[in-house]
Structure formats: C-alpha cells, structure tokens
C-alpha cells in the first residue's frame, strides 16, 4: 500500500500550509492598524520605521512563539500518549506543564533569571523533566490509566499550589496577581528575547521526540513486543522525557501553561495518520501550532480588556471536545 505514505505527505503539506496561513493571520492581527505589506517591505529593507518595529518586536515574536509553543504541546502530547499508550496523557493533564510553571516561577520571581537569562527556560525544563520522569516511573510500574491520571491531578494541584505559594512569597507586589498567566498561559507582549531563550530548547526537544517515532509505532504492541523488535525502551523513555522537558519546559517558561492543546490535537489527528503513533508526532505538532495560533488570534479579536488568557480559549474549545471524546473512549476498558 503505497497510498498511505503519499496521503500522509499530503496531510503534512496541508497542515504546513494551514500553519503558514495562520502565522500570517497572527502577524496581521493586532491593536494597531498596521499595513503589513509596507511593514514587511520596511523590515526586509532594514528601514527602522514604526511599522517595521511593531512587526519585528511585537507581532513576529508573538506569532513565532504561538506556533512554537503549540507545536511543542502537540508533539509532546502525542509522544506521551504513545509512550504511555494512554489517550489521556497530555502535558497539562498529567501535571508536566504545572510543574514547568513552578520551575519557571521560581527562576523568574526570585531573581535567578535576571542574573542569568537562561535560568528561566532551565527552571521550566527542570520542573517539566522531574514531573515527566515521576509519571513515567509510575507508568513503568504498570500503573493503569486511572492511577496515572489521578497522579497527574495530584501533581497538577500540588504544583499549582506551590506556584501560588511561590508567587505570594515573591518580593514583587505584582507577583501574586500573575498566577493567572502561569496557570492559563498567554502570548501577549512577548519579545524576540523570549523567542531566542525558548526556541532553541524547544527545537532540540522536538528533534529528540521525533527520533522516537518508530519506537512509538512498535510500542503499539506493548513494551515486550517493542523490545523484541530491537527498540531500546530505556533510551526511548529518556528521549521522550528529555524532549518533553525541553519543549514543554521552555514553552511554559515564556508563555505559561496552556492547557488542552496536547490532549485534543493528537485525538484530532489520529484518524488522519491511520492511528500510527509515529506519524502522529509531526502531524500533532503542526496541528498544535495551528490551534494555538488560532486561539491566540481569537483572544485578540474577542473585545475584552485586558486580553483573555490563551488557556481560557483553548479550554473553551478543548474541554467540551474532551467531554464528547470521553463518550467514545473506554478509558479503563480492554
């Protein structure tokens, strides 16, 4: 059957076009009446005009981060689901995003990141890495879906509480109010500096996760069969933990914990990739980028001030979808 790889390429191409269109739309939407063509021309010619400034310093970082954060959430959601063979594994649901937020909060509000800029993504990375490793240990001990989700709920609550505590202890009077950013996520007023801090980590994370595609395919048959097919499962787990920690940790460090993208997107994409966990990775990354870009365009078009947090929109889309999904999903079945 040579048809399916071809149609897979078509799917990836379609998603790429979709992401590109949404990237342009994201750059086009904002609070000032920017003439995009003129802005791009100015920027390309190196003219330091106002439109070029708004484009380069405000619109582009926001669009790039939207795509990169969404890609990170989508691809890691797909990887965690494949690795744990659990359709509910998602960085948000299982507490990885929350732990990343805690790490980033500690790094940011207690001055580590002002002394050393990389401390911000590294803080997120450490939080995400520790929680992913903890969950995989649990999953490795044969914990079922219910145990894993309950552990994730506990981990989310704990890291949420510790985040709130850290924010209350933080010296800045504004810190306590900013818990919403960390728990809901937002892309407003991000700068190219944030892109430079986070994107390299995310890219390495994606690369690590993408190398596990065939192992995740093999894991469809369970760990023993996958191991007998020659896949080093310990290394596969480390790659997914490391990749998730880097992609989600860096995402959360600059955009907060945006929920539901990593959960919903792999489910949406699965039928289009013949349910192959390996092929799901790239497709979910691209679809995650599209969803996050779309949601971020929506928060700017919805006339609320201050802007809605991104996680509000993704949850508004994601939660009802998720509930509908539960009707078709035997979580503890088989």
């Amino acid at each position: 059957m040579t048809a399916s790889p071809l149609s897979h390429k078509a799917l990836i191409a379609t998603l790429c076009v979709g992401v590109a269109v949404l990237l342009i739309a994201s750059v086009a939407v904002g609070y000032a009446p920017l003439d995009l063509g003129a802005a791009i021309a100015d920027l390309a010619a190196g003219r330091q005009t106002l439109p070029a400034l708004v484009l380069a310093e405000l619109r582009l970082p926001r669009a790039i981060l939207g795509a990169a954060v969404g890609f990170s959430l989508g691809i890691t959601g797909a990887a965690l689901q494949g690795l744990m063979r659990n359709p509910l594994a998602d960085p948000g649901v299982v507490g990885v995003s929350g732990a990343a937020a805690l790490g980033a909060v500690v790094a940011f509000y207690f001055g580590f990141s002002s002394a050393f800029a990389l401390a911000l993504p590294l803080g997120g990375l450490i939080g995400a890495g520790l929680s992913t490793a903890f969950l995989l240990t649990l999953a490795g001990r044969g914990a079922g879906t219910a145990t894993l989700i309950l552990a994730g709920v506990a981990l989310s609550s704990l890291s949420g509480a510790l985040t709130a505590l850290a924010l209350n202890l933080a010296p800045s009077p504004y810190a306590a109010l900013e818990v919403v950013f960390w728990l809901m996520g937002s892309l407003s007023d991000r700068s190219l500096a944030h892109v430079a801090l986070a994107l390299p980590f995310m890219a390495v994370g994606w690369a690590l996760v993408l190398t596990t595609g065939r192992a995740l395919d093999a894991l469809t048959l369970g760990e023993d069969a996958a191991a007998s097919l020659g896949f080093p499962l310990r290394r596969v787990r480390l790659l997914v933990i490391g990749g998730t920690a880097m992609a989600v940790g860096a995402s959360v460090a600059v955009a907060g914990a945006i929920g539901f993208v990593g959960l919903v997107v792999p489910h949406l994409m699965r039928p289009f990739v013949g349910h192959r966990p390996g092929r799901l990775l790239l497709a979910s990354g691209l679809a995650g980028a599209a969803l996050t870009l779309g949601a971020d365009i929506a928060v700017r078009l919805i006339p609320t001030r201050p802007e809605l947090k991104l996680g509000v929109v993704t949850a508004l889309i994601g939660a009802p979808f998720f509930l509908a999904l539960l009707r078709h999903l035997k979580v503890d079945g088989e």
Binding site: A28, V29, G30, Y31, A32, P33, L34, D42, R47, Q48, T49, L50, P51, A52, L53, V54, E57, L58, R59, F108, Y109, F110, G111, S113, S114, A170, P171, S172, P173, Y174, A175, L177, E178, F181, S188, D189, S191, L192, A193, R300, L301, P303, R305, P306, E307
Partner: protein, 306 residues
C-alpha cells in the same frame, strides 16, 4: 465624584467645628498615611499602614518608622481605641464597615482627580486633625511649586504614561493634570477610556508619543508586570532620550511630591521640545506626521485592529 468631594468638605467643616481635636488617629490607606504623617502632631498618630514604611511606594517612609503599623485589619485597629480612623474609599472595605458598626469615627478619603480636589483633601484632613494651619501651609507650598513651572509650549509635546501591566494615566486623572501643568499633552486621554485604562504595548508604540513616562522603580523585584516596561519594542524611546522614568509614588498620593513629579516632567518636555526645534523635521520614516495620524487611526481603545 466632584460633588461627593465638595459634600465631604462641607460635612467636615460642620463636623470639625463641633468635634474636639483627635488624640489617637489611625490610617488604613497609604495615601491617608501620607497626609496624616505630614499634617498631624507627632503624638497624634496611633497607626499607619505597613506600606508607608516601604520607600518604594511611600514618600513618608522615614516618618512612618516612628509609628506602629497595621495591615488594614479591624482587630489591629480596635485595640488602639482610635478617636479617628481615616480610610480610603476603595480599600479595606470590610474593615471600614466593621469599624463603623463598632461606632468608631471614620473619615473616608476619595481619589482626587484634579489638583483642586487634592488641595481640598489636604485642607479637609488638616481641619479634621485640628491642624488647619499646616494644611494651608502645605497647599501654599504646592501651589507655589506648580506656579514655578515653565509655561507650557504652544504645541505641547505628547506623552503617554506606562505603568506595570500596561496601565496608563487616562482622562480625568490627577497624573493627567500634573502632566498638563508640566506642559505635556496626555495622549492616553484620547486612547484610554477611563482614568486607569490599560493599553496594549502595540497601542503605546503605535501612538508614537514624544515622551514616554515610565512609572517603574529601577530596582523593582522581577514580575511580568514590570517586565513589560523593559520590552524591546520600547527600546527606541530609551535610546532616543524620549523615555522619562518617574517613580510611581510621586503621583499616586496627594502631597508635595506631585510638584516634584511635575518638575521632572517639565524638564523632559523641555528637552524634547528643544530636540524637536533643533531637527525641525517630522519624525523619521514610518507614517507621516505623528499627531494627525494618531487621532484618526486610534480613536478608541475598544477597537481591536481590523
């Protein structure tokens, strides 16, 4: 709001005439702290808020050090048995209600929107504290300082105030009047719809004010709210000297610091005006002449682009 203030003043003069000079005054609001510490006799103040001791937010940190502090809780105030409690109109509402129920004498201060209202408030508090002469002296001092400001230019430079979290000083705010007296045209009055509107960074950059008044403490501990003020999109303001940093404590409360704020802004306005006459050319690149475009392009805040 203005009527309320007038009514309060009237009420106070009636009350002040009959009431004895209070011996134990407690304050539950930072701006009340500043007035009480400046206007009362040293032994008269029983308690001020803990905020008054923080030099980042308070102009009277030194004075507050000699006075017990509270965190705005009724259980802290009641044991002091104050014969006057001064509160803010928008803070510690629960405590205020409780103190009133317990029969304590409560004076509530609004947020002045003009310098005249600020002067009224000073006179009101001084009269209530039994030190009207100090109030009059403070008002005179401030009026003199404002009178010393250079006359505004015929075409005053435009300015936007940027506070943590993207808040600004909008139409009908005390900072707005201070800016006007300092010779600055507050652009945010045409952008933000209320006194304390929030602006998207993009709106601030796009409006291209001649002066960006940044209300930030350089040594503020890290927060996303303060991070906004150092966003790279604002770098051009800093590098071209069009950004003036003004500690927010200089114009959050009523006091002589308002004149200092005005003096600093007037200096900034002067610098910008001089630079403009030297180059005598419209701002480089980008859209045509800034002011006309802003007025047509950004009439209201509610309008998300497109």
């Amino acid at each position: 709001m203005k009527q309320l203030a007038v009514a309060l003043v009237a009420l106070l003069f009636c009350a002040g005439a009959t009431q004895a000079k209070p011996a134990r005054v407690a304050s539950l609001n930072l701006c009340a702290d500043e007035l009480v510490l400046r206007l009362a006799d040293p032994g008269q103040v029983a308690s001020v808020t803990f905020l008054a001791r923080d030099p980042r937010s308070s102009n009277v940190a030194a004075l507050a050090r000699q006075v017990p502090v509270n965190r705005g809780l009724a259980e802290e105030i009641v044991p002091l048995a104050p014969d006057l409690v001064i509160v803010g109109a928008y803070t510690t509402r629960t405590t205020t209600a409780l103190l009133r129920r317990l029969g304590l004498e409560v004076l509530e201060l609004g947020v002045p929107q003009t310098l005249d209202e600020a002067y009224d408030q000073i006179r009101l508090v001084a009269a209530r504290l039994g030190t009207p002469e100090r109030g009059a002296a403070l008002v005179d001092e401030m009026e003199a300082a404002f009178a010393h400001l250079p006359a505004p230019a015929a075409q005053p430079p435009s300015a936007i105030v940027l506070r943590p979290n993207g808040f600004t000083a909008g139409r009908g705010s005390l900072p707005g009047e201070v800016m006007a007296r300092a010779g600055l045209d507050n652009l945010a009055a045409r952008l933000a719809t209320d006194r304390l509107g929030q602006l998207a960074l993009e709106e601030v950059v796009w409006a291209q004010p001649d002066v960006l008044v940044v209300n930030a403490a350089p040594d503020a501990p890290p927060s996303l709210a303060d991070d906004l003020l150092t966003h790279p999109a604002l770098a051009a303001f800093r590098s071209s000297g069009r950004s003036v940093s003004l500690p927010i404590r200089l114009w959050t409360c009523v006091g002589p610091q308002l004149a200092e704020a005005a003096a600093r802004l007037a200096a900034a306005a002067d610098t910008v005006a001089k630079a403009a006459t030297e180059t005598a050319a419209p701002p480089p690149g980008g859209p045509p002449s800034a002011p006309s475009r802003i007025q047509t392009a950004l009439p209201t805040t509610g309008e998300a682009a497109r």
